[in-house]
Symmetry: C2
Subunit: 391 residues, 2 copies
């Protein structure tokens, strides 16, 4: 539309156009950020910026360092992503201008982070040195350093400017309250079980769960309790008797909570476990095509999607939750590393690393909606995560 | 920052700035839409555009007609709002440019609408004439007309380009599938109870519930069933024995579902009812300060906030869900009409119509974070609704 036409239309509508529309910027209309996201290009240290309405890549941002096990969180405006690199780099990316806003090397070896519920604090969990560092989300200035004398894993946000995380080398779970960032209050629960290796929080932000590498079972903390304590659940969870070789420890972060049940990857077995979230006891098992890695619920909980470790990592299966049946087996590409649902679940984006492709699939009819060329894609992260706890 | 400085900074960062940053538009940097929202100015036919990070009004858009009982939904980009006026007007508003993009008078008398999960279809429910009209979300072109020979109430989106709604004059609930918008498939469930007057869908998009004006109880439909049917629940729900005068029928849309329980406004009684969402039976009652209107859960489900009908409409109460106790009573202003939580619940925005004010309150400490002057504010709607079912 020519500018003159645009002005005419605006006048007819009786609208109050903002400066952007009337100024010299007719070529750059305002865009929304609610349907944006990014895909990690794990080999190139870059991220592709994607649009989930148009189902295409808008461009990329490079220079993010080692992204071989990278994760991202989003500011509450949906404009800024915070990408945690394997090398300790923390990079703030402007998704619309597609540029790096700020970047700090905050540790020597790191594996993810979280953003506070109010969007003001970004926290990174570190292996070398251990501990958690907390940054101002606007500037990436360090605002709190939480040393731990341990590698830190399973860092998640809790409601109210709090974070929970696990100490692999100290068999502990910590809850850090940064209501006053200058005076962080850290509560440490000791003896929660040997070598917690990952953690997650339930979608309501209430229950924190750590997986244990050194023994069977999991550690559960009810963060709503006056004095939170860790208790053991699912004693049989782990490698158990007559174990199979474990090709890849499943991501706890991928646990699906749908309705009253959690669906979780069995370790070393070709099964998805069904757990009642009131009793935290196992109530069923579903046979699947391989060792599950991510077990993720469609946002409405009607379906749970599963990908697998080597050698079954070219497949994805779909479980119908009411019947607990596998209703679909897909082959979306080679080396499926991650899946991300659109906010309301009508589509899922699947990264196929060795096909250099992200496939978008209709979750109702399982038709392919789009294939996007992306170099060695791994994690996929949409801005709607900004509005959810534990993402 | 001067343009020269900005360019220097970009070069240092080695970033790839988009056209917006390098062109003549340095004065209009990209903004995110994840923290935007709008507040209905019910008397002036205008909406205030608000920013929930800065906690202030950015400006307003006028010319929206009769907004005396208005509601809004958002496109999945978070850039566009669709405002349903009482007079049948449907207006598409660009939140960043703060202008009307399109506007149609689609009925003579209307009371709200919904947007499909994929963001492509906007549906309006009408009183005069009855029925539902469905529009292309980009253009507001009519794509489907669903006549009903009845006033339509309780319209909600369901997963998969479907909508559910109730027919007040025909004692029916309809499920419309617009997978092919040119050939809508409408399933009508008859005899669901007398005069359904409002409806809601649970946050997972599974259960549709209609309130009944003509008799006690509610009608429940499990939309996951192969052949959905309506069944009656909560036979005692309604005016019941020895009724109090009802000053305002509560909004069903305000039902809170937190964990395994739904919290709902008793009709005509100073109580909030607690219902088990598995059995759909009442399991408790909580005494409150007046006849509840909106009963809304904080996103984490730890708190439920309640406002009241005349004469108690200057108060707001907060229920702690684990203990089912009222833990706080606030007086945020005169004639509290609506409340909206920020996406992750750290704050709540409360409209006080007769004080011409929106108050922002910290949900943890109950401190006032901001007061915004807004003319006769009623409904408050944040863009994060775009990513949720039933909003």
């Amino acid at each position: 539309m020519k500018r003159r036409d645009a002005l005419g239309a605006l006048t007819v509508l009786g609208a109050l156009p903002a400066l952007a529309a009337l100024g010299g910027c007719a070529s750059t209309p305002a865009v929304g950020t609610g349907d944006l996201g990014l895909v990690i290009q794990r080999a190139r240290g870059a991220v592709s910026i994607v649009d989930t309405t148009q189902r295409r890549a808008l461009g990329e941002v490079a220079g993010l360092g080692d992204l071989s096990h990278a994760a991202a969180v989003f500011g509450r405006d949906g404009l800024h992503a915070y990408v945690f690199g394997r090398d300790g780099g923390l990079t703030q990316v402007n998704l619309v201008e597609r540029r790096i806003v700020a970047r700090v090397m905050q540790a020597g070896n790191s594996i993810g982070g979280a953003i506070s519920a109010d969007g003001t604090l970004v926290a990174a969990q570190n292996y070398t040195p251990g501990g958690v560092k907390v940054f101002d989300a606007r500037t990436l200035a360090l605002v709190a350093d939480l040393p731990a004398a341990s590698r830190v894993v399973g860092l998640v946000d809790l409601p109210g400017r709090r974070f929970a995380y696990s100490l692999f080398d100290r068999d502990a779970i910590c809850i850090a309250d940064l209501s006053d960032p200058g005076r962080p209050q850290v509560t440490t629960l000791e003896g929660i079980g040997r070598q917690p290796y990952d953690g997650l929080v339930t979608p309501d932000g209430r229950h924190y769960i750590a997986g244990l590498f050194g023994e069977d079972g999991l550690a559960l903390v009810d963060t709503w309790a006056e004095r939170p304590q860790a208790r053991r659940i699912l004693a049989g969870y782990g490698r158990g008797e007559a174990p199979l070789p474990v090709y890849k420890m499943p991501h706890l972060r991928g646990w699906a909570v749908a309705g009253r049940h959690a669906y979780l990857p069995a370790i070393g077995r070709h099964e998805v476990l069904v757990v009642d979230t009131a009793s935290w006891e196992e109530v069923g098992r579903i046979a699947v095509a391989g060792q599950p890695v991510f077990v993720i619920a469609r946002p409405d909980g009607r379906q749970v999607w599963v990908n697998f470790a080597v050698p079954d990592y070219n497949r994805v299966q779909v479980i119908d939750t009411p019947s607990r049946q596998v209703v679909q087996t897909l082959s979306p590409g080679k080396a499926v590393l991650h899946m991300e649902f659109t906010p309301r679940g009508e589509a899922v984006w699947i990264s196929a690393r060795d096909d250099n492709r992200v496939r978008v699939v209709d979750t109702q009819r399982f038709a392919t909606l789009a294939d996007l060329p992306v170099d060695a894609p791994s994690g996929i992260f949409f801005t709607s995560r900004a509005h959810r706890t534990g993402f």
